[in-house]
């Protein structure tokens, strides 16, 4: 079988990945496999992240807006189109700079935009309950706006339970 990338050399590297019920099969020669980032036929295959991520980003996000200067992270200087090219962010501050675009991406990749796991050691006791309270207050505001007073009452009770536990 011939390599699907170069069409010249014999395909000796065969890869099947099944993600979310979609099967992707690659049949490549050694050189093209290496070019794509698959180096040593030993361990699990590195996930072609840049491709996967760019397929997740919407068309609009992938194309650079022609006239406006791009927003860049104030800490490391990375722009969102830099990220779209490599699939890697530059620093923690990038998450804040590109919060809304990342929220879209994260929803597609993980099905969620809210961390439900552990908080770091140092911030665990203080930050976690504070964060939960803040989120509930946001929900309460929304419920009142939407005039869903029953839900608002439930949320208010949950806030009370949280704050009295302290």
């Amino acid at each position: 079988m011939v390599c699907q990338d170069c069409g010249k050399r014999e395909a000796t590297v065969h890869l099947t990945q099944v993600i979310n019920n979609k099967k992707v099969e690659l049949n490549l020669c050694q050189e093209c496999a290496e070019k794509r980032g698959f180096r040593n036929p030993l361990e699990g295959v590195p996930f072609p992240l840049a491709e996967f991520l760019s397929s997740m980003l919407s068309q609009a996000q992938r194309e650079k807006p022609s006239k406006e200067p791009e927003v860049a992270c104030s800490a490391c200087g990375m722009s969102f189109s830099d990220f779209a090219k490599t699939g890697r962010l530059g620093c923690g501050n990038c998450y804040l700079t590109f919060r809304s675009q990342l929220n879209d991406l994260l929803r597609k990749v993980h099905g969620s935009t809210q961390h439900r796991g552990k908080f770091p050691h140092t911030t665990r006791d203080v930050m976690k309950p504070l964060w939960e309270e803040t989120k509930l207050q946001e929900e309460l505001r929304k419920a009142i706006e939407e005039e869903d007073f029953e839900r608002a009452a439930q949320i208010r009770d949950r806030i009370k339970a949280l704050t009295t536990k302290k």
């Binding site: 000796t12 590297v13 065969h14 890869l15 099947t16 990945q17 099944v18 993600i19 979310n20 019920n21 099967k23 180096r39 040593n40 036929p41 030993l42 361990e43 699990g44 295959v45 590195p46 992240l49 996967f52 991520l53 800490a75 490391c76 990375m78 490599t86 699939g87 890697r88 962010l89 530059g90 620093c91 923690g92 998450y95 804040l96 990342l102 991406l105 994260l106 990749v109 993980h110 099905g111 969620s112 935009t113 809210q114 961390h115 439900r116 796991g117 552990k118 908080f119 770091p120 050691h121 140092t122 911030t123 930050m127 976690k128 964060w131």
Partner: protein, 348 residues
């Protein structure tokens, strides 16, 4: 380096732990970055050095971690790196890293921490058999130890911040390495993989020549890291793995009731090849051992033990072989030496 380690059994192949006939090993990996510092791909030499210093100091402050071995990438040649990949202590990406990356290997070799790979820290815990929860607890403990001296990049909404958004949140990748020859032979493996994928898990196989998966070994791991707790991830992977073990056992029973002769023949032929061949490639060994592992599980082969199989699997890997015999060898010589080693381990 590592010549002594080559003689010791590798954690991922020690054959202990529950269900280790089908599930070879469990692994939990946590990705962490130091706060207010560019991620590795964006960090210059100074920043990378600073990360290394921070981590080195944090390790020194931990009684537990300071008993491990801290190795700089610059001290490792290509053979050392391949050896570490074979040992499941580092990722493939690690082997291509330039200077200013490092590796901490825990004293019991069930723990490793890569520094300046894709993220500042990649904490990994390995356990033999189906022991995801144990691996998770060990990794968690190391995370807590390190976070006493290091501040990790974290956001209450996005969780632990990682270089690639596909890891953000818990930063946790839990996986099992599972042997499914029954499902492969009954051709049900594709159906099972597709079912598992619907549950948010990723299935990958080892490479192999041609389109067969090598050695019928599969790595199953969680796909998402954000929006679920660490406990949820562990629990769902554990549940699905137990389900797969059941499917595999049923497939084996069916094979033995409907195609007993063919399967036994396949198993015995594999044993014959390993016992008498004069040259063997590592892929061949992987494939033959798959049949032998099945043979042991189905009580067809009584004269080989699981620990022999695991020892052979570990030592016949290319870098292991060269470390074991303390010399570099070209593929041709490796294939001969490998066959000799296998024959001697099988008492031939």
């Amino acid at each position: 380096m590592f010549e002594q380690m080559a003689k010791k059994p590798a954690v991922w192949l020690s054959g202990e732990g529950s269900n280790s006939q089908v599930v070879l090993s469990s692994r939990v990996r946590l990705a962490r970055n130091i706060a207010n510092s560019p991620f590795p791909s964006r960090a210059d030499t100074d920043k990378r050095e600073r990360t290394l210093s921070f981590v080195r100091n944090a390790v020194k402050k931990s009684a537990n971690l300071s008993r491990g071995t801290f190795v700089n990438c610059s001290q490792l040649d290509d053979l050392d790196r391949s050896f570490l990949v074979e040992r499941h202590l580092v990722s493939l990406e690690f082997t291509g890293l330039r200077d200013l990356s490092a590796l901490l290997i825990g004293e019991k070799e069930n723990v490793s921490v890569m520094v300046n790979e894709e993220d500042h820290l990649r904490i990994q815990a390995l356990a033999s058999g189906l022991e995801i929860r144990e691996a998770s607890q060990i990794a968690n403990h190391i995370d807590d130890e390190l976070s006493k001296s290091l501040e990790f990049a974290f956001d209450p909404a996005f969780g632990y911040l990682t270089s690639c958004p596909t890891n953000t949140g818990t930063g946790m990748r839990a996986s099992v390495l599972i042997h499914l020859p029954g499902l492969a032979l009954t051709r049900e493996i594709e159906k099972v993989i597709s079912q598992i994928s619907k549950l948010g898990l990723v299935v990958r196989g080892f490479y192999g020549e041609g389109s067969d998966v090598c050695g019928n070994l599969f790595q199953v791991s969680n796909q998402t890291t954000l929006g679920r707790s660490e406990e949820d991830i562990v629990e769902s992977l554990d549940r699905v793995t137990r389900q797969m073990i059941e499917y595999e056992e049923n497939a084996r029973k069916r094979l033995f009731s409907e195609a007993k002769e063919q399967i036994e023949d396949k198993i015995w032929r594999a044993y014959g090849i390993l016992k008498y061949a004069r040259t063997l490639t590592s892929e061949e060994v992987l494939n033959m051992l798959s049949a032998i592992r099945l043979g042991i599980g189905m009580s067809v082969l009584e004269m080989v033990s699981l620990s022999q199989v695991n020892e052979i699997l570990a030592l016949t890997q290319p870098a292991h072989l060269q470390k074991y015999f303390k010399k570099r060898m070209e593929p041709g010589e490796r294939d001969r030496v490998r066959a000799e080693l296998v024959r001697s381990k099988l008492g031939g």
